[in-house]
Amino acid sequence: MKRSRTWLAWLAVGLLALSCAAPEALSSAGAWETDVSSDDGEALESCPPGSTRPPPRPPPRPGRGGRKRNREPFEPRERVFNAEPTPEQREAARRRTENAAIEQTLRDRYWRLKVEAERMYPDKVGLYEEHHFWPKYLGGPPDGPKYRVPAPYHQLITNAFRERHAYGQKPPSEARAKEIMMEVYSELPIPQLIGIPDP
């Protein structure tokens, strides 16, 4: 009896060792083998000829980077970019707003000065003249940019320039000429440059 038990124990150990060395030999069906050697862990299945196909596996659970096949239509979308403006964008927006406000102020001033100029120079009402943005007597090029402005308003601009630099007395330095233009155009804007295409 004791000998038969020892024999059975030895048989069990032998069978266990055999199953560890060649597990496929003892697989339940002996028909399916699963290769799990691929890196991404996705099983590559191969079906030997003549065997029945097992039921399909459920789709992988959506996770980070996975596709959401069954997403609810009204479910909020994932945020793909940062909607908060950067400090630079915020500064640019502030400047745009400021510039628009200044432009509007200048437009109001232009219409007021135009009326005033028409009252001062009634003979010129209805006439238009070409105005050199950089006046020639301050060193501007003859073929430089010109703007078509109402003649009475042009007279106001001319007066403003000649008040600041007497005509033909001496050539101003380039820096001083630019300073004069800055002063004059902040007071008497060129209509086309503040969004009035047809002054």
Partner: protein
């Protein structure tokens, strides 16, 4: 001699830095301030201008020095600097006058050769003036009345050329172009040049490295070398003023003209207009 400087300052800046009684308003938003150079406010304007210059700006937009003399000072002077006070546009180049820039100084454009007669727009010429120039500053014309008087009195150092109408359509009989034929006079070191009374142009922005142009403008009385004077009644200084516009503008360097006592008296008798005379010193 009394020396005053006229400044033109925007009303906004004037209100900030000057008292309300300083200067008088000129037009809509400019204040004209005339100060004696001995006035303490002149130094104050200089200090403010220096502060503005540090920020790349300027306190005043225009300045002009004027000097007045006693009769005794005028009668005892030998030479006078003729400062022109009249100008008009368009300049000759816009009316068909041609220049050869290839022979001009590459730094300052002095020496550009005029290739044809000066051509001008007759409708733009000033009335009531005897000496004037275009806004190029180097094209100087003299009235026929004055030319006749200069010839009659044997004034030396001048030559006159006809002036044609715009694009060569006939001669303008009332005007002649002035050419100075006398020996040019070297400028003495006592003469100061600069951009403004408070900016001597230390970087030399408006000074020709070859010595053709002394600066943008003259700040002091003109002093010239006596040994260079050949006794002519009309002369020009060797060093010129101004600059050639770099952006295609009209400006060209222009000469400083000097007149003798004889010519000064003649101009006074004729009541010629368009200029002022300042005493020049022979050293």
């Amino acid at each position: 001699m009394r020396e005053t400087v006229e400044f033109r300052i925007s009303e906004q800046k004037a209100q900030r830095f000057l008292k309300p009684r300083d200067g008088k308003p000129l037009g809509r938003s400019t204040r004209k301030l005339v100060l004696d150079t001995n006035d303490i406010r002149y130094a104050l304007v200089g200090r403010i201008e220096h502060e503005f210059m540090k920020q790349g700006s300027s306190f005043f937009t225009y300045w002009d020095i004027r000097r007045t003399y006693t009769k005794k000072e005028l009668d005892s002077a030998e030479l006078f600097y003729l400062r022109m006070r009249s100008a008009f546009e368009p300049e000759g180049e816009q009316c068909g006058t041609q220049y050869d820039e290839s022979v001009a100084c590459p730094h300052c454009s002095v020496g550009a050769r005029q290739l044809n007669e000066l051509r001008l727009d007759p409708s733009s010429l000033p009335r009531g003036k005897d000496i004037t120039r275009t806004i190029a500053y180097s094209e100087i014309i003299v009235s026929a009345r004055l030319v006749e008087a200069l010839r009659a009195h044997g004034i030396t150092g001048t030559r006159f050329h006809p002036v044609l109408r715009k694009n060569g359509g006939g001669t303008l009989d009332a005007w002649c172009q002035l050419e100075v034929t006398s020996q040019p006079l070297g400028v003495a070191p006592a003469t100061r040049f600069g951009v403004s009374p408070f900016d001597p142009d230390e970087q030399g922005e408006y000074r020709c490295p070859l010595g053709h142009v002394a600066g943008l403008d003259i700040l002091s009385e003109l002093s010239v070398r006596r040994e260079d004077w050949d006794g002519a009644d009309l002369c020009a200084a060797k060093q010129w003023l101004g600059y050639r516009s770099r952006n295609g503008g009209a400006f060209r360097p222009y000469p400083m003209l000097l007149v003798s006592q004889k010519l000064r008296r003649l101009l006074g008798e004729l009541k010629a207009k368009g200029f002022e005379l300042e005493v020049a010193h022979l050293v």
